[in-house]
Amino acid sequence: MLENYLPVLIFMGVGLLVGIGMTVMGLILSPHRPDREKNSPYECGFEAFEDSRLKFDVRYYLVAILFIIFDLEIAFLFPWAVVLDTIGTFGLIAMAIFLGLLVVGFIYEWKKGALEWE
């Protein structure tokens, strides 16, 4: 079984090589004539006047937290779905209850306005 993963590993290596190879080719073949104006970050013709790593809205953070909860749920559902034939009706009902708990949480965060973007 494990030897099936060797091609995957090599494929990742080849993918990395494609990226590195293209980057190196580009760096060698292209001209390199930097100047201060050219290198300044693009900002509608103005001088960039502060660090651009700005504060951002907390909602992006909230989405990330919600994503973890739901993605974890999906990670539980995958192996469950694979063994569906073995676990039978008991397994079906168990997951229905488990998913139901998630739905309750989902309704709560919906009502609380966590999903609002104005």
Binding site: V18, M22, T23, P41, S52, L54, L77, V83
Partner: protein, 350 residues
């Protein structure tokens, strides 16, 4: 001489490398000509001709584009984190290509026959987001950082809908191996999972469009407001790498939709009594069917772009969280009931 070549081919590493090249070269050529067809098709949809200067009918256009980008100066913006700035495109393309390791092109034509193939593809597409985040953050540009935040939130939101849609497929097939999933759809065109999983099928493809940041969900690029988004500071070959990765991901979404929902390499004429089609050569499984189905979805990407205006960001998030996720959760319950009722021909207990 032939014996020598054959004996070299017997070495496992060489064998694998040859197969990888046999996947990657057609893939990269498809990507190149996908960009050509995009410009041509959208051109015709807008009643103009599209590229027609380089080579006959413009066929050499993608090659000319690649050459041009290769010789363009790579600008490192001042204040950028140069190391991250350089590795971000490589990370994006490496994951976009590596996902292809487990894609089967026929019942026996698969490089790595993993029993967790679907999970592996999900993992690879998730890691691809890091490339975008690193690119946007390291550029030290306001537009890039805004686009990065938007993209990250958008992609993770739609990944949930997509994940739930895939859970539906796994429930129907009871396997994560893509070959098994296709085999589970055999019999006739009614055996394809797109029928019992129709809402999930639609949601999967639309989420795929959102995941690859394509129109109408392309607020990551949003040229009318944030210029070009996370790759605003990229030029030359580094920009080309992002471009390649984006198109490779679009083709991946298309081929996955064909494999998981439309029977992959199975013929739509399988089991058809009419005119004896079911026993003719048309009913045979073939890579031609898989590629034709993939081409339909690839065309849809272009059609969407030519047709729909861009969504606003809050509309995108509302669609993802308040429409797609509830529908997918409800449909998982429906699949559970269909499975319990042993609805033929999809849910026969093994």
């Amino acid at each position: 001489m032939v014996d020598l070549i054959l004996s070299i081919y017997e070495i496992p590493i060489i064998n694998i490398l040859v197969k990888i090249i046999a996947i990657l070269v057609p893939l990269l050529l498809t990507v190149a000509y996908f960009t050509y067809f995009e410009r041509k098709i959208i051109g015709y949809m807008q009643v103009r001709i599209g590229p027609n200067r380089v080579g006959p009918r413009g066929w050499l256009q993608p090659i000319a584009d690649a050459m041009k980008l290769m010789f363009k100066e790579i600008i490192f913006p001042s204040g950028a984190n140069k190391i991250l700035f350089t590795i971000a495109p490589t990370l994006t393309i490496a994951t976009a290509l590596a996902a292809w390791a487990v894609i089967p092109f026929g019942a026996e034509m698969v490089l790595a026959d993993l029993n967790v193939a679907l999970l592996y593809i999900l993992a690879m597409t998730s890691v691809g987001v890091y490339g975008v985040i690193l690119a946007g953050w390291s550029s030290n540009s306001k537009y890039a950082i805004m686009s990065t935040l938007r993209t990250a939130a958008q992609v993770v939101s739609y990944e949930i809908a997509m994940g739930f849609a895939l859970v539906g497929v796994v429930m129907a097939a009871r396997s994560l191996n893509i070959g098994d999933i296709v085999a589970g759809q055999s019999g006739s065109i009614w055996g394809w999972y797109m029928w019992p999983l129709l809402p999930l099928f639609v949601i999967y493809f639309i989420s795929g469009v959102a995941e690859t940041n394509r129109a109408p969900f392309d607020v990551a690029e949003g040229e009318s407001e944030i210029v070009a988004g996370f790759h605003v500071e990229y030029s030359g070959i580094l920009f080309a790498i992002f471009f390649l990765a984006e198109y490779a991901n679009m083709i991946l979404i298309s081929i996955m939709a064909a494999l998981l929902f439309m029977g992959g390499w199975l013929s739509p004429f399988q089991g058809v009594e009419f005119l004896g089609l079911g026993s003719s050569f048309l009913a045979g499984s073939s890579i031609v069917w898989l590629l034709s189905k993939t081409a339909i979805f690839m065309f849809l990407f272009l059609w969407f772009r030519a047709t729909f205006p861009r969504y606003r960001y809050d509309q995108i998030m509302r669609l993802g969280w308040k429409v797609f996720i509830p529908i997918t959760i409800v449909w998982i319950y429906v699949i559970g009931i269909m499975y319990y009722a042993e609805l033929a021909p999809w849910f026969i207990k093994g």
